[in-house]
Amino acid sequence: MTFEEIKILLTEKFGSDVIVGEETEGRQPALIIKPEAIAEVCLELRDNEKTWFDFLASLSGVDYGVEENIFGVVYHLASIPYKNSLTLKVRKYHDRSREELPAFPTVSEVWKTADWHEREAYDLLGIRFSGHPDLRRILLPDDWEGYPLRKDYKAQEYYHGIKVD
């Protein structure tokens, strides 16, 4: 299925407001999906026999910078039967307040591999995935402060009495 056909398929199934934008300039076009709908969209793309995106190649959390204060998640889907790939994105404004993290629905029910990828995004960027069964830090220690891949990150000075530099 081409990019345009996938767009039509999704709007027919979920209504016209499910796709909030698209990026077609680059070599790999991407669809920007309404954040609340991402899990259902992924499930549909995985199970629909016209698309069969059965392989989640990568899931990346992104901090789009301190001016915009936008956080996002990028999903790289691959279809093994059709040898096709697709990029999905969700994004959301967040004021970087410490009390509440930016949150998106989890897709770990759709692809089990998303479990660890989402833990990594939570660990390094402080993105929460609602409904995730096991949202703990994965690469950093459990008591690490802050989220290193955020653009405004400042490393803590000491970690258990050890100087961090």
Binding site: G26, S60, V62, S85, W111, K112, D134, I138, L139, L149
Partner: protein, 391 residues
């Protein structure tokens, strides 16, 4: 806050069960991996992997350095297959710059040649250490003996033994040294019968088969759902190799087969199948290397004028875009996701998708209700490299 699956598992341990830490300092975990086991006697009830002991902030480094400066860091991801990793990185940057079509054929063939040599080296470590995990010591020594020749050759070409920094954006560090092709040919002739010996010693060994066949069976649907790739996925019976799917670099012109697990000794997707896929892949890599050498000694011969640095871009500033590059590493699909802003020499965001990371995540799924000794066999068959898992 709601309790996580981990907390539930640990608080649900029965008085008759024991929580056992395997690793991080344990040779059979192939590095600093810690597995928390909930055991009932010899039976493993649950495996909870804890990773991150070797985390070196690769992505943070990559977001503060230029593309060329990051290559040595890329080498340190999967340190057993540095050539393959930097090949993937470099191809990604070249495609973003739009110069991937202008790379001279000789350079592409040299890249494939060194990558495939490195693939053999990586697989030899996987096979040799797997023998040790099972209790066979000799194959390990044999594999390291043969790998030493590869290391020496790559050292000759690049100047270092493991972390090469040889493949550059738009070209190569140096051309192959004079006489490399002949020495490589000699190595291939030496190496071919050695694989037969290894097969006689280990692959068909009855003890080895009884330890690995029907152990850690990974069904294909589970493998796909958990994002497994490389020999893990092919061991479960799927012909999926990005060298063929994406047809990158010089691979479309080269002939090779994609070995898959057939369940010869047990069921499809067991530890023996994954082992056998690696053995067969070495054979295919040897075949690819012979074809590369053939071309590099005939129509792509070295000439006085050939300069592998002729096409290095002076400044690497890709247009503003998102790009995901994937390539087939010895362990599976290595992916790099770049976000660039079109103004700076430094990427805005880089994400590395390591194959070991995804391949390991399936371990708790296929290790429920097995013996502890079988868990060792399963970890070894996944073939993880912690450098790339923890990044």
């Amino acid at each position: 806050m709601e309790s996580t699956r981990y907390q539930k598992l640990i608080s649900g341990v029965e008085p008759t069960e024991m929580v056992l830490n395997m690793g991080p300092q344990h040779p059979s975990t192939h590095g600093v991996l810690r597995l928390e086991l909930i055991t009932d006697g010899e039976i493993v009830k649950e495996v909870i992997p804890h990773v991150g002991y070797l985390h070196r902030c690769f992505e943070k480094h990559a977001e503060n350095l230029t593309y060329q400066q990051t290559i040595p860091f890329v080498d340190r991801l999967d340190y057993l297959a540095s050539m393959n990793s930097s090949h993937a990185w470099v191809m990604g940057v070249e495609r973003m710059l739009g110069i991937d079509g202008d790379i001279p054929k000789r350079i592409e063939y040299i890249r494939v040649l060194v990558s495939e040599l490195n693939r053999i080296g990586s697989h030899l470590i996987a096979l040799g250490t797997y023998g040790i995990d099972i209790g066979a010591f000799t194959p390990f020594l044999w594999c390291f003996r043969d790998r030493e020749h590869i290391m020496n050759m790559l050292e000759w070409a690049s100047g270092s033994r493991m972390l090469y920094n040889y493949i550059w954006v738009g070209g190569l560090f140096y051309d192959l040294p004079v006489g490399f092709e002949e020495r490589c040919k000699e190595f291939i002739d030496y190496f071919k019968p050695k694989m037969g010996e290894l097969n006689e010693l280990l692959t068909g060994n009855e003890i080895f088969i009884s330890r690995t066949a029907n152990v850690g069976v990974l069904p294909l649907s589970t493998a796909i759902n958990y994002g497994c790739s490389g020999p893990m996925l092919r061991g479960s019976g799927l012909k999926w190799d990005l060298r063929r799917v994406d047809e990158y670099s010089a691979y479309p012109e080269l002939e090779f087969d994609i070995p898959v697990g057939k369940g010869e000794m047990g069921s499809v997707g067991d530890c023996w199948d994954r082992f056998k896929v690696r053995i067969d892949e070495i054979e295919q890599s040897v075949h690819i290397i012979s074809q590369c050498l053939e071309r590099l000694q005939t129509d792509l011969k070295r000439t006085q004028e050939f300069d592998p640095r002729a096409r290095l871009p002076k400044k690497i500033i890709p247009k503003a875009q998102d790009f995901y590059m994937r390539a087939e590493n010895p362990k599976g699909e290595l992916g790099f996701y770049f976000i660039t802003d079109g103004k700076s020499e430094i990427p805005k965001r880089v994400k590395a998708r390591g194959p070991s990371f995804c391949n390991l995540s399936v371990i708790s799924e296929i290790s429920r209700g097995i013996l502890i000794a079988d868990l060792i066999a399963i970890i070894g068959s996944v073939d993880i490299v912690l450098g790339e898992l923890d990044r």
